[in-house]
Each structure stands twice: as C-alpha cells, then as structure tokens.
C-alpha cells in the first residue's frame, strides 16, 4: 500500500459516494454535483494508478487534463440546460408525470413557453 494507491482508493470512494448521490438525490443541481464527484473520482483513480513506477506517467495526466476541461464545459452546459428546464417547467426535479411536483411552478415561470 503505497501513497499513490491511497489516491486511487480515495478516487474509488469518491466514485461510490458520487454514484449514491446521483441516484439518491432529486434536485438536478445536486445530481450534477454528484456526477461531477464521480468524474473527479475517475480522474483521481487514473492519476493515482499511473504513478506505479514511482514517477508520474505523463500520458494519463494529459488525458485527465483533457477530461477536466471537457467536464467543466459539460457541467456549464448542464447548468444552462437545468436553468432552461426550470424556466420552462418551474420544476427542479425530473418528477414523473402524475406525481405531485416538488415545487409548484412559479407564477412567472412559464413566460418562455412556446405560446408566447
């Protein structure tokens, strides 16, 4: 059990926590954060495992760097989509139709709807 394996196993733990949050939490922003936690766990596993030989391996590091940038852009896009969804539906969860939404639609939430 060396120090780099500690990083890899911390990444494994983050993946598990993130997965739990992703399927357990209802609020879309929390889901997004949990998903990002899973992503960070994956990055940590990759970087931690790649230090086996004692010195860091630049190839996984470059891949993780690419992954971080893509994750940031995808997160920003997801936030834009969540905001749009909230404006259109007034909801912050993906409630099933027929079930009572967690939050009643705000009075001004429908102004971006297709009828306008």
């Amino acid at each position: 059990m060396t120090i780099h394996l500690l990083y890899a196993f911390a990444g494994v733990a983050l993946c598990g926590i993130g997965l739990f949050g992703f399927i357990r939490l209802d609020h879309l922003l929390r889901k997004l954060m949990a998903f990002n936690l899973m992503g960070s766990g994956v990055f940590l596993v990759m970087v931690g495992l790649a230090q086996r030989g004692g010195q860091p391996d630049p190839v996984p590091q470059a891949l993780v760097l690419t992954g971080i940038v893509v994750a940031v852009a995808a997160t920003a896009l997801a936030v834009v989509l969540i905001r749009r969804y909230y404006h259109l539906s007034g909801q912050i969860t993906l409630a099933e139709p027929g079930r009572e939404p967690v939050k009643k639609p705000a009075a001004d939430a429908h102004r971006e709807g297709p009828t306008e």
Partner: protein
C-alpha cells in the same frame, strides 16, 4: 419502502465501489504492459516541445485534443443557442463593489499577462493552452461581473468566429498534413514547434471564449425584463 430502497441503493453503490477498488488493486499489483514514460522520454526530442505533457497533448495524442476542442465548441454553441441573453450591460448583474472595481484595474492586465506566460511556459514546464484559456476566461468573468461592456460576446459573427477559430485552425493543420502525404495530424518535420505554438494560441483563445460564453449565457432572467430581440 423508502428505507428499503435506500438500503438497496447503498448496497449497489458499495458493490460498485468494491468492484472498482478490486480492479484498482488488481491493476496496481500487475506490472505495466508497456513502459509509456520510457517511450515518451525516447521520443520527446521529435515532438517539438520539451514538456512531456504538452508533447502528449499536442503531438502524440493530438487527436484527443482535437476532439476535445470539438466537444467544447459544441457545448459552447449549444449553450449560447439555449440562452436568451439579456443585455450584457444589465445593471442588475453588476456588482456595486468599489473594491472589485479597484482590484479589476490591477488584476485584469495582470491576468492577461499571466495567461500569455502560461501559454508560453507550456513548452518546457507545466502550463499550456488549457490553463491559459482558463485564466483568460476567469478574467473575462471578472470583467463581466464588474459590468465592463463586452460587445463581442453578443451572439454574433465575432463570438462565432472566436468559438470556431481554435477547432478550425487545428483541423486545417490536420487535414493539410494529411493532404501533404503524411498521416492525419502528423506535423511535417521541422515545423512541429511553430505549428504547436499556433495551435496552442488559437486553442487558448477559443477555450476562453467557450467558457466565457457558457458563463454569460446563463443570465438571470426576470419576468419584468424584456429579453434581447423582444423589445417592448
């Protein structure tokens, strides 16, 4: 029922983490099939840059970077098409913090210089297009919060050119090298360093534009405000 589902979820997540941990333990125990750092060190001279990570990003695995900037451009375009941009000089979005104004005058030029340094440093030490682009985008976010008008960010020709520039130049270089008889994305010998420099510069610019556009395209919309293109 609810408690049962929580128990199931916990069990599923624990099983997932356990399997993942087992896989990590197994991989860590076995020797590496190829000596990637050794291969990289042998070929570093041919890459045109001295820093191994930059060499991987922009030479050995430049295909990944090309696809990455493609993903960024798509995300940026989707973001700006999704948003109904309110006017960028919206007084509500402006913070009235005099400290921010004062700091901004010092920080924005400093951050621009830092972004330029990071871009250049990428050739032989940690740095490069992504870090520089992030710093550039952060200074843009600061200018935006301070209410400095940034007309180029309106959905228009300039913004679209800026978004597409990095991907276009990268793709042009890739196709040109393919047409010249080499492999797709193989830089011609002797031109690796200048080509990487050009690509890094346009990548920095485009990454900053994408991140900034995604930040700006999530404005606070209130019911009373007319939106852009929807004048009362």
């Amino acid at each position: 029922m609810r408690a049962l589902s929580v128990v199931t979820m916990t069990a599923v997540c624990l099983a997932f983490a356990g399997l993942l941990g087992l896989a990590v333990w197994h991989i860590a125990g076995s020797p590496a099939p190829v000596n990637l750092p050794g291969l990289l060190a042998e070929n570093l001279d041919a890459s045109g840059v001295e820093h191994p990570i930059t060499a991987v990003l922009l030479n050995f695995r430049s295909y990944d970077t090309l696809l990455e900037i493609g993903v960024l451009v798509i995300a940026g375009i989707a973001g700006i098409s999704m948003a109904k941009t309110t006017s960028l000089e919206d007084p509500d979005l402006r913070t009235s913090d005099s400290l921010l104004y004062a700091l901004q005058r010092w920080f924005v030029p400093l951050m621009l210089v830092l972004a330029g340094y990071l871009l250049w440093a990428g050739s032989d030490r940690p740095g490069g297009a992504f870090q520089a682009g992030a710093v550039l985008a952060a200074s843009g976010v600061m200018m935006r919060l301070g209410g400095i008008p940034m007309d180029f960010l309106r959905p228009g020709v300039l913004l679209r050119l800026g978004l597409a520039l990095g991907f276009t130049v990268f793709l042009l270089v890739a196709v040109a090298s393919a047409l010249a008889g080499e492999a797709f994305l193989a830089y011609p010998a002797g031109f690796a360093k200048p080509l990487i420099l050009v690509i890094e510069t346009v990548l920095t610019f485009s990454i900053a534009m994408v991140l900034l556009a995604l930040f700006v395209s999530a404005p606070v919309n209130r019911a009373q405000e007319p939106e852009e293109g929807e004048h009362e």
